[in-house]
Symmetry: C2
DNA sequence: GTGGGGCTTCCAGTCGTTGGAAGGTCAAGG
DNA sequence: CCTTGACCTTCCAACGACTGGAAGCCCCAC
């Protein structure tokens, strides 16, 4: 099975498969005599594992750990659960930050007449609103299309 | 006022001020004879505007629009409100995606005994769980420290 | 044997920031 | 006056997780 077929079967693009291989997340695939990468059903299974993990928001580093645990028959479910709980806590924190932003914006928008006059409480807030203090994580957002 | 003072007064780092200037978000600052950037109180005001906007999750492109509206005395508040509402909708969408991830993970974690046995429903799901279909935005997350 | 699609590698760009190196400037103290 | 140290300047690179493209080889159907 070449990389294109593996990509279609796993839902991971060929580009990403090569990238994951190059960055060491997944082992190097075998090659045909022509130099094409060759994938087995097990490899596709692993790729689907990676894909699903990304869909659930795990980082590359976390997926690396999860893959090791997946392959390790003597693993402890506590190890996996720990990673999942950390991910949940992170999600909850980010959700809260975004909720705070949304609430502030909704309040401002509800105070804005939204007509053809220039007076705007949104701009007034941006002009003078208090700044978030700690600034360790600004709650910056993935703005991919 | 040099860039360091402007940074402290606005809450935007000197690095970011230079970056914003270079990328055209803010106008080029005047220079002293020695070549140092020179900032007025108005400039600091503008930098605080940018900082606050970033804190509220606006994109650079949106901030550019907001800055123009801020400077435009004949603006219409509807224009500002439109940008804010778009931002809110985007936030709500992202929050929902992350809520879905968190709910799935919480369900999986609650089914996981988390002990020293290898049986783990989290790994079982990653192995076989259904993939998110549309995949236009994967809900990838900013994982800045 | 030829066309078109798939495969290979490598390089660059995305976004918002942060870090560092190399060198010029300023103000205070000796 | 000279040194020290804090500040400024520019430029270059990296982060994460991809995505796109160019140049060139390979495979299969016609």
């Amino acid at each position: 099975m070449n990389i294109g077929e593996a990509a279609r079967a796993s839902g991971v693009s060929a580009k990403m498969i090569r990238y994951y291989e190059q960055s060491g997340l997944i082992p190097k695939a075998g090659r045909t005599t022509a130099g094409y990468r060759d994938y087995s059903a097990t490899d596709v299974h692993m790729l689907r594992f990676v894909r699903r993990s990304r869909d659930l928001g795990f980082t590359m580093a976390e997926i690396e750990d999860l893959l090791q645990l997946w392959r390790d028959r003597s693993r402890q479910s506590a190890d996996v659960k720990r990673i999942a709980l950390a991910r949940i806590a992170d999600l909850r924190r980010r959700i809260q930050e975004m909720e705070d932003m949304a609430a502030t914006l909704e309040h401002l928008a509800s105070c804005c007449s939204g007509d053809n006059r220039p007076d705007c409480p949104i701009l007034a807030d941006l002009e003078q609103g208090e700044l978030a203090k700690p600034r360790r994580s600004r709650g910056a957002i993935d703005r991919s299309p």
